[in-house]
């Protein structure tokens, strides 16, 4: 009667947990076996560089900075005398970044991509602010579909890009030289932004 039915259910319950004893575990041992994120998953944000010339694709149009909901991207690119913006510094504060992917969608020069990488934990908070060099270096091995409209006329010789027609931002060498004098100048209006 009731007791036997209860006993049966109790033993049935133990049977179910018991039969899992023999089954293989579903968890992986993290440092030894790593979880490979599928393609297109939103890991850390990296700056992509042109495959041939190795320069940054970023044309400092500041669209990603405006699209970021948590003001994590801080770009310093004042207008040069020839009315074009020269990229001086491009910082992403991964302490603020919420990995939403809006910056990647806002950028139509495929200069910015969320790589399927997830190991970037640091000991201190301000190590989470990555500057341009580190972003570019992390973005080296990330392959991407180059959807930019080719500005250069179709002359056969790849050679050094024609200076005038190339609207790609100034090569990083220039950014290097500008960097040492005034490290990471914070323009006033961003100062108030990073709350």
């Amino acid at each position: 009667m009731g007791v036997l039915k209860d006993l049966k259910n109790l033993i049935l319950g133990m049977g179910i947990t018991g039969k899992h004893l023999g089954r293989h575990a579903v968890t992986i041992q993290y440092p030894e076996e790593r979880w490979t994120m599928p393609e297109g998953s939103r890991g850390i944000v990296v700056l992509l560089s042109d495959k041939e010339t190795g320069e940054l694709n970023c044309t400092s149009c500041l669209l990603c900075m405006q699209a970021c909901p948590t003001a994590a991207i801080r770009i310093d690119a004042p207008r040069g005398e020839d009315k074009k913006r020269r990229l001086i510094s491009f910082d992403i504060d991964f302490g603020l970044c919420c990995f939403c992917g809006l910056c990647e969608e806002a950028c139509n020069f495929c200069a910015l991509k969320m790589a399927p990488k997830y190991e970037f934990s640091t000991l201190t908070k301000d190590e989470l602010v990555w500057d341009m060099k580190k972003l570019q270096e992390m973005g080296r091995d990330v392959d991407y579909v180059d959807t930019r409209k080719k500005k250069k006329p179709k002359e056969s010789v790849p050679g050094p890009a024609a200076p005038k027609a190339d609207t790609v931002a100034s090569p990083p060498a220039n950014a290097e030289s500008a960097k040492p004098e005034e490290p990471k100048p914070e323009t006033p209006e961003q100062e108030e932004g990073n709350g």
Binding site: L10, G13, M14, I16, T17, G18, H20, L21, R23, H24, A25, V26, T27, Q29
Partner: protein, 353 residues
């Protein structure tokens, strides 16, 4: 090969050591004292290692039941994980609140730890492997295992914390009310053995079919009621309300940390082993078994019963306090007493083998 296995009986080693000690010419009293001190030390060592092994084994079994690995980091499959935990707990700072009841708070874990060890004096680990074959063996064990209630009450009251007090009160009510069915189901076995001494109980179950689990009408019922009451004694899950994490945060050991907490923890696992050792001695014929040495049989059977207790823990939810009491008094006690009468009747009518 068989002969080699047979000779693995440990009792000869103890007799040889005792003989060695005897002819060193010390007076008899001294010899007795030293031998019992040595035996105590060995027992403490064996049981401490056993407790550490049980903790590790429970975490591995729980892991594999839940389809994960359990401790893997320290050593192959984490074998010295519990030793690492013990050392960590040893050197952890012993945080104590100053509003505690100093004396009771300090002695609660000691009482709990000692109570867990006292029961092993008359548990037969193997053929002749028994510290002291008291002729009131099982009665002594029942008396000693109720010490844990005092320890839990002391811990509950001593930590001056509402959650701990609730845990302490609950454990007192639970262990007292499960003592009655446990003793009653043990009595059904004692009727047939006729003596309380554990060695006689094991002796009466020589052949395979004379195990009490197979004496059909009352044997299995006695075993089932014994196991249920025993899980309540050892505060194991369906009845682990004294330290129900979800309700009372950590029940009676909420204010303990460091070595004091480790004592409670190890005592709980030792209680689990005691309870399954008694179950094996009473129902599964203690250390009787063909071929293998007797202590290996005892250890194997007890670990099987411990596995059963672990399966309880990782399958069943927890009973509420009043349901637990109701289950004990309204269901277990009548069943065990009915079983007792049935066993006595069958003994009187002679229908037993």
């Amino acid at each position: 090969m068989l002969l080699a296995l047979m000779s693995l009986e440990l009792v000869h080693i103890f007799r040889w050591a005792y003989g060695l000690l005897a002819d060193t010419g010390l007076p008899a009293l001294w010899v007795l004292l030293i031998s019992y001190a040595l035996l105590g030390a060995i027992m403490f060592g064996v049981l401490a290692v056993l407790a550490l092994f049980l903790v590790w084994w429970e975490r591995k079994i729980a892991g594999h039941i839940q389809q994960r690995f359990g401790p893997m980091r320290n050593g192959w499959h984490g074998w010295y994980q519990t030793i690492a935990d013990a050392i960590k707990l040893l050197q952890k700072e012993d945080v104590t609140i100053d509003a505690r009841d100093r004396f009771i708070f300090f002695w609660a874990p000691v009482v709990c730890f000692v109570a867990a060890f006292l029961a092993y004096i008359c548990i037969p680990f193997g053929n002749g492997l028994i510290v002291a074959d008291l002729n009131i063996g099982i009665l002594y064990i029942m008396a000693v295992t109720t010490f844990t209630i005092i320890a839990l009450l002391m811990a509950g009251w001593g930590s001056n914390n509402k959650y701990a007090l609730l845990g302490g009160m609950r454990s007192a009510a639970q262990v007292v009310s499960y003592e009655v069915p446990m003793v009653a189901s043990i009595l059904t076995v004692i009727i047939y053995v006729g003596s309380l001494s554990m060695v006689d109980i094991v002796a009466s179950q020589q052949s395979f079919f004379t195990w009490f689990i197979f004496r059909v009408p009352f044997g299995p019922i006695a075993f089932l009621t014994y196991i249920t009451a025993a899980t309540a004694e050892a505060n194991r899950v369906p009845f682990d309300i004294p330290e129900a994490e979800q309700e009372l945060v950590a029940g009676f050991n909420v204010e303990y940390s460091g070595m004091k907490f480790a004592m409670f923890f190890l005592a709980e696992f030792l209680n689990m082993f005691t309870v399954s050792a008694i179950a094996v001695t009473l129902f599964f014929g203690g250390w009787n078994g063909p071929w293998l040495p007797s202590w290996l049989w005892f250890l194997g059977k007890t670990l099987l019963v411990v596995l059963l207790l672990m399966l309880f823990r990782w399958t069943y939810p927890r009973l509420r306090v009043d349901q637990l009491m109701e289950f004990a008094w309204k269901f277990l006690v009548p069943v065990t007493f009915g079983n007792l009468i049935l066993a006595a009747l069958m003994k009187y009518l002679g229908w037993y083998w």
